[in-house]
Amino acid sequence: MAETLYYRTASELSRELESKKITSEEIVRSVIERTKAVDGSVGAFISFDEDDALARAKASDERRSRGRELGPLDGIPIGIKDILAVEGQPLTCASRMLGKFVSPYDATAIRKLKENGAVIWGRLNMDEFAMGSSTENSSVKTTVNPWNTDCIPGGSSGGSAACVAAGEAPLSLGSDTGGSIRQPAALCGVVGMKPTYGLVSRYGLVAFASSLDQIGPFAHTVEDAALLLQAIAGHDDRDSTSFKTDIPDYRKEIEKKRGPWKLGIPKEYFGEGLDPEVRKAVQAAVEFYRSEGCEIVDVSLPHTEHAVGVYYIIATAEASSNLARYDGVRYTHRSPEAVDAIDLYFKSRAEGFGPEVKRRVILGTYVLSSGYYDAYYLKAQKVRTLIRGDFLKAFNEVDALLTPTTPSPAFRKGEKTDDPLQMYLSDTYTIGANLAGIPGISIPCGFSESGLPIGLQILGRPFHEGDLFAIANTFEQAHHYHAKHPELK
């Protein structure tokens, strides 16, 4: 039995734990064995702590045997992007800068998972400091796409997506600043959600661009993603941008909300640059919703073409400020070559940061520098207002928007590494949601002829995650793409 456990959904595992058909220790052992068998080729994990995971699994079984289980996630292993603080565990952000860092505290999302009895399982690879769309900017290792190991898994949460796709964890957490959950979820054929800005506390999430970053779930199914979001959502005194709002029971929302919905198709997301196979798969999904009785309406988000430009000004500006803390003084890499205090900054940062991080810090510093602030940063913030307005206007008319998650299926390793602009443009369809602060989910909606997954993105009103789960679940239940898994050695 153990060998088949690792591809079960978290909801199935949860039910079997509840009926005492299996133990958390069996699940965790199965996931550990699977990881040891396939991660040599997948490369999703930067590190894992087997003893800690098994101890948590045994504690969960102990609780359950005494009738004191803590909820549906009790005993379920969850992989963690290496950007979230877990007390006593390393946190590298896939950067040499934090090569030896050990977290002295738990992120709020991690604390909540522990309070729910979840088994924290491993540290997942990513683009350095979450800057990238292919996980090729990791300074630690390469992660591949489990569906085709010559292709990238997407990024920046590439490890989080690949580990779920490869059966190395039924659930994982990632972070999404411009698409870093939804894009790798689409490319690896799993479900990934970026919640509304402010729904999940960012305390203990290493900051990249503070006005855009959100933590969110990866899962095999929509129901599983809802289960994981349920555990981590909610106001936190330690994040002043976390919102005070009632959190609905997402799984009940899925049950209760059956549509039909009014769904918008933004024409700007189906223009030049969209791969024909992706277009076909997404259009088929649109037709599915129409056949379910949904009203399909054409809408326009006229400022979409500026989203990438606005994003690369705002995100790099915020990053250049956030990453100023990596100064070689208190908790980071320190250059042994430094001759004085100022030189310590220059050399520690030169040695600690990889090329993409340097590029973005330079760009962010430039757009904030004297004489350019108005032309770039202030201008971008104003266009951000217009982009957000486009979405809010569309949501006056429709319940949600249907779009492709990415312009193409997974591209090949090395294809875009020398051309940052082309890499940035691969985030075209996901960036808008971060700028507007709205939630978005990517679910599998088909495969290319070469067998690579394709993602459907559903974007919704702020704090209406329940609607997105319900809409996504309708498609999933009729298609069962989530039951397909890649063949790995």
Partner: protein, 97 residues
């Protein structure tokens, strides 16, 4: 001035960012960032007159809490990741002569 004919005065900006770059990095980044800036120039076609800037997607007000002491890190915990420490302090190169 931070801009030369290629787009960015890389030495000036790298100095502001406190990152030393090799000559090879300077050349490569100048070209790549030049491409990105050229792309970003497209924003100049947008009319933003009368548009307020958005710093955060949702309106935020400052959040206050009572000024009461709460448990924090022990000295050992606070220093556990320091590259060099001595007598409960982080050791740094001499700042003043």
């Amino acid at each position: 001035m931070a801009k030369d004919e290629n787009g960015i005065d890389i030495d000036y900006v790298a100095n502001l960012a406190r990152i030393s770059l090799t000559d090879e990095e300077k050349e490569r980044f100048s070209g790549q960032l030049g491409d990105v800036l050229e792309y970003i120039e497209k924003l100049n076609t947008v009319d933003v007159s009368g548009v307020e800037p958005t710093a955060h997607a949702f309106p935020l007000e400052n959040v206050w809490r009572e000024d009461t002491a709460e448990p924090g890190f022990s000295v050992e915990t606070a220093l556990q990741n320091a590259p060099a420490s001595r007598r409960n302090m982080v050791v740094v190169p001499k700042v003043v002569e």
